[in-house]
């Protein structure tokens, strides 16, 4: 295994773009990334595309060569990776593995989703395909419903309050207001967040991430060649992908994501650091409760204390563990397949000191955590300045 660096990043805005198709979004992010990494398209040796449900949302299949053609990188291996909401993180992990193993040098990873062309009940149904269709989905479960049941149990076991869930939404909205590429750039108050339209009790509209169109891309190269392309390479210091049971009813304790715990522990070990060393994080806040549980599973606070930790401001920009300075999935948007790649790009942008209004004062080491479904896939990546 050889050290691997991120040498380029590119993102589209996230939002509802009725006049854009999946390919044009993926191509825009890919082109920005190729430009940022000062790479010639002919130097790219492989392409991995994270995408959750392009065929269901758009009808188009065989997406990786389709996007690669738009980028002018035809001829190389082009592969789509699907691991629900962790498709982007998983695509990154596979690209990383290939570069670390020495199979390729320069690899492009993209993530894309085009979701807003379908009505909400159909979107809910497509997303529900990441759950267990034979049980929890068959009886009427949606993703908000699954996370609502997780939230309910977390409240029961640890006394987590609705106000603490709302604090996560308020903080991520405030951060998103600083992000020019965010879908939602609107400040909200705790009172507003508590009064949102109910989706699946105890979760309301403000507890849920957005339905979005968007794409992100990153370029990887072996560290020893990084300086050929960029003056600011960012090291992939630790990375791990793990899996777990798919159906909630199969899990002994639904208030924790064992896949996240395992991926976090492995990534920390690989990077030779611990939770206290992480200066900031992009966490998978598909729902407010998911951010609270991620804080606990990654060891940023004790089990059961994610709610009070959030309400106390520890995860705010000025807190001890700034979390989702980009606005997270809640405010930045959640084009499912793009999310894991966008998290990496956002962490890299902070580490390079190029995050504009989002820039944090401490930014030499950050963590990205990408979650698939209700916890059956997790990817944790630790990125570090060189």
């Amino acid at each position: 295994m050889r050290p691997v660096a991120v040498i380029g990043i590119g993102k589209t805005a996230f939002g509802a773009f009725p006049d854009r198709d999946l390919k044009s979004l993926a191509v825009e992010a890919g082109q920005k990334c190729i430009q940022d990494g000062h790479v010639k398209p002919s130097q790219i040796e492989a392409f991995y595309l994270g995408n959750f449900a392009g065929p269901s949302f758009t009808g188009q299949n065989h997406l990786a060569p389709y996007v690669a053609a738009g980028l002018g990188i035809t001829g190389i291996p082009a592969t789509r990776i699907e691991d629900a909401c962790a498709s982007g993180g998983s695509a990154f992990m596979h690209a990383y593995s290939a570069v670390a193993a020495g199979i390729y040098d320069v690899v492009l990873v993209s993530g894309v989703e085009k979701m807003t062309s379908q009505p909400t009940p159909r979107v809910a149904e497509i997303l529900a395909g990441a759950g267990d269709l034979s049980g929890e989905i068959k009886v009427g479960g949606t993703f908000p419903a699954l996370f609502a049941m997780i939230a309910r149990r977390h409240m029961h076991q640890y006394g987590t309050k609705k106000e603490e869930l709302a604090a996560v939404a308020v903080k991520n909205h405030a951060n998103g207001a600083r992000n020019p590429l965010a879908q939602m750039r609107k400040l909200i108050t705790i009172e507003q967040a508590l009064k949102g339209k109910p989706v699946a009790d105890p979760l309301n509209l403000y507890d849920c991430s957005l339905v979005s169109d968007g794409a992100a891309a990153v370029l990887l190269a072996p560290l020893e060649r990084a300086s050929e392309f960029t003056s600011k390479p960012v090291l992939v210091a630790g990375i791990s992908q793990t899996s777990d049971l798919l159906a909630l009813e199969e899990k002994p304790d639904i208030t924790t994501f064992p896949a996240v715990k395992r991926a976090g522990e492995k990534a920390y070990r690989m990077a030779g650091v611990g939770p206290a060393d992480i200066e900031f994080a992009e966490l998978h806040d598909c729902f407010t409760i998911a951010e609270i549980i991620a804080l606990e599973d990654l060891g940023f606070c004790k089990k059961g204390e994610g709610g009070p930790f959030s309400a106390a401001g520890c995860t705010a920009r000025e807190g001890t563990k700034p979390t989702n300075p980009s606005g997270g999935l809640k405010a930045k948007g959640h084009p499912v397949g793009a999310t894991g790649v966008a998290q990496i790009a956002d962490v890299v942008s902070q580490i390079r000191g190029e995050a504009g209004d989002m820039q944090l004062p401490r930014h030499s080491m950050g963590l990205a955590q990408n979650l698939g479904g209700s916890g059956a896939t997790a990817v944790v990546t630790i990125l570090k300045a060189i």
């Binding site: 909400t120 009940p121 159909r122 809910a124 149904e125 529900a128 049980g135 929890e136 989905i137 068959k138 009886v139 009427g140 479960g141 949606t142 908000p144 419903a145 609502a148 049941m149 997780i150 309910r152 149990r153 029961h156 339209k197 109910p198 989706v199 699946a200 009790d201 105890p202 979760l203 159906a247 909630l248 009813e249 199969e250 639904i254």
Partner: protein
């Protein structure tokens, strides 16, 4: 079937307001994960009164392949 013979305890629950395409006409509806007396867990719908965590529930029927439970007679 096992769940027809046994009672159960509510492990967690939610009331779904924003339903998927197939169940738009059912919303709002309550669903739950229950722990049956044999220790196995099942995701089901709740019929009748709303239930909370740790409530005792009993099997009602299978309807369109969906198991329905309701609050057990005699309260919690």
């Amino acid at each position: 079937m096992t769940h027809q013979k046994s009672g159960a305890l509510v492990y967690t629950e939610t009331v779904v307001y924003s339903a998927p395409e197939a169940f738009v006409n059912d919303a709002p509806y309550q669903m739950a994960i229950v722990i049956r007396d044999d220790g196995s867990r099942l995701t089901c719908r709740i019929a009748g009164d709303r239930v909370a965590i740790d409530d005792r529930v009993e099997f009602v029927e299978m309807r369109d392949g969906i198991p329905y439970y309701r609050k057990a007679a005699g309260g919690n």
